[in-house]
C-alpha cells in the first residue's frame, strides 16, 4: 500500500479529541481499579471501625504516607506516557517521602523500650501485609496498563514500574482502611515492601505489556 493511500484512510478516521484526554484516561483507570480494590477491602477483608480509627494520628500517618506516594506515582506515570514531557521532581519527592517514613520508623524503634521493639516492627500481621498489598495492587495495575497502552510510553519497563508503584501505593492506602496496625516501623517496612514488590513486578510485566 502506498503511504499516501494510508494517509487518505487515516484522514477518514479523525474524530475530535477534547484536551486532557491522557489525564482523564489515567484518572479513570485509577478510579476503576481503586473501586475494585476498595470493594475487595470492604467486602472480603472488612474495614476496621473507621470512626474510631479516624480519630487516631496513626491512621492519618498511614493515609498520608501511601496517599502521597500514590500522587507521586500517578504523576510519574502520566509523564512517562506522554512523550516530550519531563519526568521532573516526582521521583525525588517519592524518595523523600519514603525516607521520611523510614526515619519516623527508626525514631520510634529507638525511643521504644528494648523489649517492645520487635513487636513494634512486626505487629500482628507482618506476614500477610506485603503480600496483600501486592494482591490488592493487581486490579489497579491492570486498569492502569490498559489506559497507558492507549498512550505512548517510550520506556516500557520504567513506565511499568511507575504503574506498579502507583498501583501499590493506592492499594496500600485502601488496605489501610482494613489494617489495624499502628506503628510507624511496621508501616515503613511492610507497606513499603508491598509497594516495592508491586513496582518490581510492574516493571517486568510492563516490558511486555507496554510495547507498541
Amino acid at each position: 500500500m502506498r503511504t499516501s493511500d494510508l494517509i487518505d484512510i487515516l484522514a477518514r478516521d479523525v474524530r475530535p479529541t477534547p484536551p486532557g484526554a491522557a489525564n482523564r484516561k489515567l484518572l479513570a483507570a485509577l478510579a476503576a481499579g481503586g473501586l475494585i480494590t476498595f470493594a475487595i477491602v470492604g467486602l472480603v477483608l472488612r474495614c476496621q471501625p473507621l470512626l474510631a480509627a479516624a480519630q487516631q494520628p496513626w491512621f492519618w500517618m498511614k493515609a498520608a504516607y501511601t496517599g502521597l506516594l500514590t500522587i507521586a506515582g500517578a504523576v510519574i506515570v502520566r509523564r512517562l506516557s506522554v512523550p516530550g514531557s519531563r519526568v521532573g521532581a516526582a521521583p525525588l519527592a517519592a524518595t523523600l517521602v519514603i525516607l521520611a517514613m523510614l526515619g519516623l520508623g527508626v525514631d520510634q524503634i529507638l525511643s521504644a523500650a528494648q523489649a517492645g521493639r520487635v513487636a513494634l516492627w512486626l505487629g500482628h500481621t507482618w506476614k500477610i501485609c506485603s503480600p496483600l498489598i501486592l494482591l490488592l495492587a493487581m486490579p489497579i495495575y491492570a486498569c492502569l496498563i490498559a489506559a497507558i497502552r492507549g498512550l505512548a510510553p517510550t520506556r516500557p519497563a520504567l513506565t511499568g514500574a511507575a504503574a506498579g508503584f502507583a498501583a501499590g501505593a493506592l492499594a496500600a492506602t485502601l488496605y489501610g482502611l482494613h489494617c489495624p496496625e499502628q506503628a510507624a516501623p511496621f508501616v515503613a517496612t511492610w507497606y513499603t515492601l508491598g509497594i516495592g514488590a508491586a513496582t518490581a513486578l510492574g516493571a517486568i510485566a510492563g516490558r511486555r505489556l507496554l510495547r507498541w
Partner: protein, 183 residues
Amino acid sequence: MPHQDETEERLRPLMIRSLEGDSGAHRQLLGMLGRYLRGYFARRIGTAAAEVEDLVQETLLAVHLKRDSYDRSLPFTPWAYALARYKLIDHFRRRNRSLQVPLEDAGALFAAEDAEERALRTDLERLLQRLPDRQRSLIEDVKLQGLSVEEAAHKRGVTAVSARVMLHRSLKWLSQALRDENV
C-alpha cells in the same frame, strides 16, 4: 535552531486542528510528517532499505492512533520525534541488533524531507489481506474508490457509526500486527 522553530510553527497548528477533528489538517500533517520520517529513517537504516517505507507507515499509524498522548501545552516536534525514535529502536530490537539510537534534539527528525516512496508492496499491504472480509472491503472502498466512510457504510448496508468503529478497529489491528510481524 531557527529551522526547527519554523517546522514547529507549521506542524503544531495542524496537529491542534487535527485533534479538533479537522481531517484536512490531519491529512496535511501526516503528509508532511511522512516525508520527514522517510528522510530520518533512510539516514538511519540506509536509503535503499525497503524497511524504510514500512517504518514510515508504522510510525504514521502510531501518530494517528496515539494522538491522545499529545499534550497541547507542549511543543509538537519533540512528541513526533519521540514516537519516531521509539519505532526505530523497536525496529532494531526486533532484529536483535543492539544498536544504540542516540537521544537527539527533535531536529534530527526534521532535518530533511524525502518525498520518494520506497516500496509499494509494504508489509501493510500483506497484512491488509489478513483482515476479515468486511473490514478489508471497507478499507478498500475508502482507499481505492475514495468513498467517505458514510458512503462506504451505505454501500455495505451498515450504519455510519458501526463503519467508523470498524475502520478504527481495523487500523488498531493493523498497527499491532505490523509490530508483531517480525518479532
